[in-house]
Symmetry: C2
Subunit: 426 residues, 2 copies
């Protein structure tokens, strides 16, 4: 067991800053991890060791002193990079080499990060799955759409990875793969150079090896985000089962309810919250808007190369064509009217606790399970964090969510740190 097997980005950058580790040594460690397991995991759609080494060896000021000095990062393949192809898992974009980095990739490089490669996504971050397997059980999906970033994290291929979320694409894989994940409030992170799906919801987020790493990457990618003020103290949580609690199996329910008890035992307050009945519409409204916006976002591909689109994308476009303009407008108006009511419900709490996925990772690679428990917060752009729940050796991972009020990202990160400490006896 080497230091880098478990070291988080904080620790790695600290070692690089003090010259106890070189970026080249760090890169070689993670490259050796991919050598050992990538052929079975299939996290990467593009991985070039020479490109990785060149970045690591060429790291100079200011990057070598940056917050992510020498930290290898996996990048979901709907995010442009100038030194790798970007394919969106679509044959339409074979050999697409962007001429410049996405905004977030450029910020990561300025902070000293090393881009490890492009990680598998579903087609256009929608439903058509790729070959990636869950490192905890190769017969199971890692979840989607940020499949490669999540599986690569769980396999130890990089200590930080970028994903995106429109429904549950970041948090669902985090739950299935046992990862820390942070999806910031809608609109905080630039999507320049990131392929849009449903722009009302699309948000970039990331995986890390610790809560403090989730905050560290936020410092780099959300300039101006207030730094955490309170490091300790008790917190006030809501606990919301949502209208879909009947989809939660006993494994997840038991683990989550046990976690709630541990939080209470640690002195935190946890209050059960029921959302008003009309919030149950949110699942349908999210789906309808996702369809209509997705169809517009992919209208170019639909017009130019319909034969190269998967049945799931075509089905989405067909559903959008069967939806009237007024139906989409009404769905958006409902969400806009509900948003301030939800804000009021969240106001007393540092964060809301809820389920991320009702089940552990399903068997098979073709389907990845529902995203309802993520959608209902995504519809309102709220920040979300997945924390892995304590599990016995050999048990499949289970995560749960902490959801914050809109633009309360710093408060959410602080609360998540408290929860993680309480659950891991730190």
């Amino acid at each position: 067991m080497s230091f880098l097997d478990t070291a988080d980005a904080h620790s790695i950058a600290e070692q690089v800053h003090t010259a106890r580790l070189s970026p080249g040594t760090v890169a070689e460690h993670f490259l050796s991890q991919t050598n050992a397991r990538e052929s079975r995991i299939r996290a990467f759609v593009a991985l070039d060791p020479q490109v990785v080494r060149k970045q690591a060896q060429g790291l100079s000021s200011p990057g070598i002193n940056g917050l992510l000095a020498g930290v290898p990062i996996g990048v979901k393949d709907i995010i442009d990079t100038c030194d790798h192809p970007t394919g969106f898992y679509s044959p339409i974009y074979d050999n697409n080499w962007p001429s410049r980095d996405a905004h977030v990739v450029a910020l990561l490089r300025l902070a000293g990060a090393v881009i490890m490669g492009k990680t598998h996504t579903t087609e256009f971050a929608y439903m058509q799955t790729g070959p990636t397997r869950n490192p905890h059980d190769l017969n199971r999906t890692p979840g989607s759409s940020s499949a490669g970033s999540a599986a690569g994290m769980a396999a130890g291929f990089f200590p930080v990875a970028l994903g995106t979320q429109t429904a549950g694409s970041l948090l669902k894989p985090a739950s299935y793969c046992g990862l820390y994940a942070f999806k910031p409030s809608y609109g905080l992170v630039s999507l320049e150079g990131v392929k849009p799906l449903a722009p009302s919801f699309d948000t970039l987020g990331w995986y890390g090896r610790s809560v403090r790493d989730l905050a560290l990457v936020a410092q780099v990618l959300v300039p101006g985000l207030p730094q955490s003020a309170r490091e300790s103290g008790i917190r006030t949580f809501g606990f919301c089962r949502t209208a879909r609690w009947d989809q939660v199996g006993p494994v997840v329910a038991d683990a989550l309810l046990a976690a709630v008890e541990r939080l209470k035992a640690a002195g935190h307050t946890v209050t059960t919250v029921d959302l008003p009945k009309d919030f149950a519409d949110v699942f349908d409204d999210h789906l309808l808007i996702n369809d209509c916006e997705g169809a517009r976002s992919l209208s170019k591909e639909w017009q130019s190369s319909p034969e190269l689109l998967s049945p799931s994308v075509i089905a989405m476009i067909e559903r959008a064509r069967g939806t009237t303009w007024e139906q989409e407008s009404a769905a958006k108006a409902r969400l806009a009217a509900q948003a301030p009511r939800l804000q009021a419900i969240f106001a007393p709490f540092d964060a809301m606790l809820s389920v991320t996925c009702g089940m552990v990772a399903p068997l098979g690679l073709e389907t990845t399970g529902p995203s309802d428990f993520c959608k209902c917060w995504m519809a309102f752009g709220l920040p979300q964090i997945n924390l892995p729940l304590p599990r016995l050796p050999g048990e499949l991972p289970v995560g749960f969510q902490l959801i914050g009020g809109f633009r309360q990202d710093s408060r959410l990160l602080e609360a998540a740190q408290q929860v993680d400490w309480a659950l891991s006896d730190k």
Copy 2:
């Protein structure tokens, strides 16, 4: 005077469809216009006649049968094109050649359009102006930031052009240059491949030679937008002076009030609307959010090349640094709370009439005048159309706005057609 000097895209495409004009002939006409006047107007930052000819001569199915068959289009230089550089009017992006077209450019090409070249923008579509002159008076600004697209339209270099608007960047130049302009509702047009400034407001729009052309381009760029249903009949308008009427000079006020009288004489109803007093905050809220989001959008450039940013961008970033997270959140919450109230105010009307700019185009090329009359609707994502008002020969152009309810783009386009007919005695 040739047919193509005034023909709109509808007419041009019709001539191409019936083989009475070839795309090559159309392209040569517009290239000859640029030969005659571009050296004085400076609409283009990139114009390559060979690239234009190649597109026109290579036009085949489906483009040759498309809605914009053979129609030359100017593209603002913050929108990616694969066969021209994209420079954002910033030395940071000298020699930046995108590898693929922006989504909208790809859709235009699929519809048969010919990209004429890249048109001058202010730096990152913010305030630092370029060399473009107003064709109506070379000593005056064409307005910003879509300066080159507007000036090129007024000079006859192309019959359609793309611009973008975050504050008043599309409509202000339309008013100063005497153009038809349409900014759709927020979120309808894909911004994939368009440089973001303030993503809460950024919207792509276009100039055309007629109201029907504004609708024609909407058919291409907003798949699924309902087609206009009512071609004739009276319309119901509000007339809103806004809280900034004291900035409207007599030239604009007289022209607008005369137009209102003509509309009434044509049988339309026009009702004066005063917005609630608290809506006057919208100017400050738009500015504050624009600053904070602009600073985040340009954080990469600020970190990597601060010495290559203009004083106006740096001033924006400094203002953002002096703004707290809570102030930005509060501004966004105010707009979200006002939006449904504004929707209710708009509901009885087919469109709201208002000022686009309080003055004609100012003298000089360094400043372009305030955008307040656009900002107050941009803040809510409402669709806007600028129509040129009838002017005597030699008079500088004056425009006015029609604003629609959110996502009422088709209804707005219909109303604009009625207004244009009423004002032009058609």
